[in-house]
Assembly symmetry: C2
Homo-oligomer: 360 residues x 2
């Protein structure tokens, strides 16, 4: 059991929730559901129910060191891997694999994002345990595929192939990035497609071998310092070399290429907290359909709005808005129709063009 | 010339501009037009061009003592009269009159609000000088009536009567509070009605006599301490007795009753900065018709909005709003259609019912 590790990836910026999520305080560090625990803390709590605390690794950007230490005081400094640059998930996972492999060459790992929602945690634990069993007995890269309940166009899809020798785990036939609405409908109706959760399981050895074979430009940056991992020299090596790694996702670098990729088809109630609409959908609403987060409100002739405020004692008085997002964060206020939530990234880019990093 | 005094009344709360104007920082202390001078400072500057600085008196609520001292450092403490309670304009003016009369029994006074806009200051000075001449030679209560340029329903109106012996100054026939639209149209078309500016001129003796005759319940509260005014005992007397005075306006207490009330018909470009619409009207606009005060903005598909923010480095990103007011003040955000600006006072009252004084 002690060879099982959980790697929580928490270096993202969360710009689709801007300005509630800011570069200096991204969404994974926010108590988005008002439960008293941030998304990162909820991910940690789930990991803690699967592996011993000392086998939990958080990989994040070095800018978030203090946030992680503050929110997860149970972690030792050696359990927090601080990326000196943003290089997407492949280098992140490569580092975690080299790090864990140096500590325990027989380790198996779950890798997960820090900003998704999981509703049936018992089932989640069972599925993860099932997955660990599989990757500990197979040279396999396992991804969790979520049974889709709607033709979502914001997610990636996994097409299932041949069955494996283990119940509920199948070979992967194809990965498809965000499809258009017609294709998504066909995918869901076919029963052959599952949402790509970004939750992975593998042994350290298997992912290192796959990186070696299919992403050698990533692999070589870590392999060159192989003797440093798990020693005092690790951090200096990463500081010097991490940024040289290509900027590439693990899906693109490995999962879409390797032949030993499997999917575990699960249904534990999952949502990547990707944008305001998802949060709105999962939040308690007033009888007028308004969701208010973290603030006092007086609403007149208002329906189906999502109102989220960083400053917890702020009062929001609104008259005559329907289906809007109102997000206030100290020095930034965003007001836009919910139908435009996918434009928020563009707003953030426009703001960057005009004002530089000030409001990022 | 040294017997002429200017009394600036600046104790109001300005709730129609809430939350930009707050109880702790009412509109007269805000640089509303972005000129670098607050409305109070602009009133002071005008007064300074008419009378010697030492003849300027500011009457305000004691809560605003520090604001006045900070914004008008030229004033001596003895020139700032601090009301220990809110009692409308009659007690305010009575105190100023007793105070000035004690210093100079032959004084004449202009009394004006601190939160109006005056566009032709040269003409304003001429009219005030003309008015001082009149009240120094007549036992008269003179009010300035503004030639109306539209059937405004938010103002009080003065109906002119017989001419006086001085050009442009007439007897007052009636005062009418805010009329409905049909009546306002008749008033304006008749040429007999002028807007009540709330700017008054009189000698200290005349207003004290009028208070004695028509508002004895106000008058007696000050007369009882007549020997205290202009001495070190004045403030203690006011602290002990001011709140006992009835809460009543000078219009209702005196102007609508006294027989010696005159109006000077003027046209120097005047606006009481009563609500957002007035500010919107007088502010520079983008080509989409948006007015932004004190903030950075990124506006998409937005027209004719009034956006005002207290924190000067705040960024406001809005998509898809037309004809709205967006007013942000630290711990309060208001979003409402411009057509509802007269409801803001109600919003403030509702907020008070729910949250007490916290957001006032």
């Amino acid at each position: 059991m002690n060879s099982r590790y959980c790697v929580i990836m928490g270096g993202g910026v969360g710009s689709r929730f801007w300005p509630y999520s800011r570069k200096s305080m991204p969404k994974q560090f926010i108590d988005f559901l008002g439960t008293g625990r941030t998304l990162m803390q909820m991910s940690f709590d789930r990991a803690k129910s699967i592996v011993p605390i000392e086998n939990i690794i958080v990989v994040t950007n070095e800018a978030y060191r203090d946030l992680v230490k503050e929110q997860l005081p149970e972690l030792d400094d050696t359990q927090i891997l601080l990326e000196p640059a943003r290089r997407n998930t492949a280098p992140c996972i490569a580092w975690a694999a080299f790090h864990i492999h140096a500590i325990n060459p027989d380790a198996s790992m779950m890798v997960c994002p820090s900003d998704h929602l999981i509703f049936n945690e018992d089932l989640f634990r069972q599925e993860i345990s099932h997955g660990f069993d599989f990757v500990e007995s197979h040279d396999a890269l396992l991804t969790l595929g979520i049974k889709p309940n709607r033709p979502e166009t914001g997610y990636g899809y996994i097409q299932i192939g041949e069955k494996s020798d283990v119940d509920g785990i199948l070979q992967v036939k194809t990965f498809t990035e965000k499809p258009d609405a017609d294709i998504a409908r066909i995918f869901v109706d076919s029963g052959e497609f599952f949402w790509n959760s970004g939750i992975f399981l593998w042994s350290a050895k298997s992912i290192m071998k796959a990186l070696h074979d299919y992403a050698p430009d990533v692999y070589c940056k870590f392999e060159a310092g192989a003797d440093k991992f798990g020693t005092n020299a690790e951090n200096d090596y990463i500081k010097a070399k991490f940024a040289e790694s290509p900027n590439i996702s693990i899906d693109f670098a490995v999962m879409e290429k390797a032949p030993n990729v499997f999917v575990s088809c699960v249904n534990f109630g999952w949502n990547d907290l990707g944008a305001w609409g998802v949060l709105y959908e999962h939040s308690p609403k007033s009888k007028e359909g308004n969701v208010t987060q973290n603030c006092n409100t007086k609403l007149y002739n208002c329906n189906n709005n999502m109102i989220a405020v960083k400053r917890h004692d702020k009062l929001i008085v609104v008259s005559g808005l329907k289906n809007f997002i109102i997000a206030d964060s100290d020095d930034v206020l965003l007001i836009c129709p919910q139908s435009e939530e996918q434009r928020i990234k563009q707003f953030v880019n426009d703001v960057k063009s005009s004002f530089g990093d000030k409001y990022q």
